[in-house]
């Protein structure tokens, strides 16, 4: 079981003719994802990986019946491409692009919500339902199908943890990178209810980091509304305040976003916090036994 994508999901790639778009289209096809086409304005009629390229999302959707789009569109054109995807009726839009201005993203996130499209990202590695489909840039082979949901604000840290989970015998239902930017379309609290409702997910791993208050909100939601057990990890506990740690969203600024409040919130919600990635499978074993 899984959330958001599975082996029936038809995916198109916006920006498919670019270097990253083409590379990851091939990787997604190799993983078994039903990628059915791509969009690059002005390049309609071409082919990438044997798939048709369209000039507009509307044409691509009309011709293929896709319900999900993955974007590799440069930052300057990304919000227009996101809105185009939503206007064409796509239900799930996954944005890999980083560096989109925050105020543009505020407007764009609301526009997509009004259209009824769920946005993952921007600055996200995408999502994968192991053994079924991936809409993203993560290496497929470290994953295994199973019953642990993973949501994260980062990319390679997620790979690290997924590899440890797989090695310990914990396969995954769905793994989602929400994105490292201050404004993202789907936050932990938007996605936790989906895992809670998924009968194939027996536990959830939250990989948080410093900056913002999303971990605190997630903890409050877990305390109120979740019966599925949750284990967490917080990256950046030794980061100095005022310095942006790579992700635009990862900064302890003005006394906010520090690790202490996040640790306290998870403790209050009964969510164990791992001291290192290698402890995560250990905590899961404890919680699920």
């Amino acid at each position: 079981m899984s959330i958001l994508i599975d082996n029936n999901t038809k995916v198109i790639v916006q920006g498919i003719t670019g270097r990253d778009g083409a590379f990851h289209t091939a990787a997604m096809l190799a993983y078994g994802t039903r990628v059915v086409g791509g969009v690059t304005p002005g390049k309609g009629g071409q082919q990438v990986c044997g798939l048709p390229v369209y000039d507009s999302v509307r044409e691509a959707v009309d011709s293929t019946g896709a319900t999900c789009s993955l974007l590799f569109v440069p930052a300057r054109f990304a919000t227009a491409a996101l809105k185009e995807a939503a206007a064409a009726g796509l239900k799930l839009v996954v944005c890999i692009t980083e560096g989109i201005p925050v105020l543009d993203m505020i407007e764009c996130a609301h526009a997509l919500k009004q259209r009824g499209a769920r946005l993952i990202g921007p600055n996200s590695p995408g999502l994968i339902s192991p053994g079924q489909a991936k809409a993203g840039i993560m290496p497929g082979d470290i994953h295994a199908p199973g019953a642990v949901g993973v949501i994260s604000r980062s990319g390679t840290l997620t790979y690290e943890v997924v590899r440890l989970l797989t090695a310990a015998g914990f396969g995954q239902s769905t793994c989602i990178g929400v994105g490292g930017d201050p404004i993202v379309g789907s936050s932990f609290t938007d996605l936790l209810p989906l895992f809670e409702a998924d009968r194939g997910t027996r536990a959830v791993v939250i990989l948080g980091e410093i900056g913002g208050e999303e971990e605190e909100r997630a903890a409050a939601y877990i305390k109120e509304s979740m019966s599925t057990p949750v284990v967490s990890f917080i990256a950046g506990r030794s980061a100095p305040p005022g310095k942006r740690m790579g992700h635009a969203g990862a900064i302890i600024a003005g006394g906010r976003g520090g690790p202490e409040a996040k640790l306290a919130a998870f403790a209050a919600a009964g969510v164990p916090v791992a001291e290192s990635p290698e402890q995560i499978p250990v905590l899961l074993t404890k919680i699920l036994s």
Partner: protein, 381 residues
Amino acid sequence: MKIHEYQARELFAARGIPLPPGGVAASPAEAADLAAGLKGPVMVKAQVLAGGRGKAGGVKAAAGPREAEAAAREILALRIAGFPVEKVLVSKACVVEAETYLGVTVDRGRRRLVCIASAAGGVEIETLAAEAPDKIRTLALEPGRTPPAPEGFRDLLAPLFPPGRLNEACRVLSRLVGLVLDNDCSLAEINPYALTSEGLLALDAKIVFDDSALDRHPGIAEMRNPEEYSPREIEARAAGLSFVALDGDIGCIVNGAGLAMTTMDLIRRAGGRPANFLDVGGSSNPQKVLNAFRLLTAGEGVKAILINIFGGITRCDDIARGILLSRERINALPPLVIRLIGTNAEQARAILAEAGCTCAEDLDAAVDAAVAAAAAAKDRV
């Protein structure tokens, strides 16, 4: 991107947000001249890209030019939060009757811009948020690039201003929101916005810009102050690396921000001290790895370097070639602990084995080895 108060004042003035008159000085003599022109008591304020300057002795009142000169001399000799003070703002001192706080920032949870107002001006808003959240009033704005008309702020501000001043306060907040929307600010703050003998005035000005939007505001980008980043951070940026210097002795080269933060956390947890945060980014080539090594070894006191790569888009064999290139080009590299896994890790290990380097697979073990290597290097000294 942060700017100084005197720069933010220029942007406020251009928007018609009233300020006490003043100017910026780089020497005590210039400060005295400014004070003479302003006639009467003045404030002399350090211009640094950090908060807490009042507590650090960076803000002084002066009765006239001679006192202003002395105050400027003292303040220009200070270092505040690591920054040497290079300029002071000299502005007319006002008799303050009441202080409020006005701010506009991004609320991540609500995914909106939010206006923040409080009757407790002058205090750091974060302190207030922690200690007396009931004293903070907020208004989330509808998404879009048009600021609400001044009337839209009446409910927010009515409890904070006398009726005769409310319209003026609403106009100022509307202009502040316009400034944020037009220039892609992530924060604009007037603290305090004070009722003075000269009317309502912005007695301080703070603006932070969204780095991702700077390329469409060339005039704003020109306001950048080189001291915002250390020379090594600027060099790193030019090389496409995300780098933050820390005070430890174990250099880190990692791909991905989350994993880079985790690596430095694990070093700290194992009893070591990370020298830096460094994310080599997704598409790494051997040259980029060499740049990363140069950056780490340029600073003094790096006693061991931990390379932690989880190959996804990043190819481990590229990293391995970069490591060998660095050993060739950089004299006296400190001991290396290499952990490579993921895309092309097998090839990477073969390349490194041929050159006599070993790789760890397990992260905790690699961290322990790096901490031990740094400790051993320290013992030798």
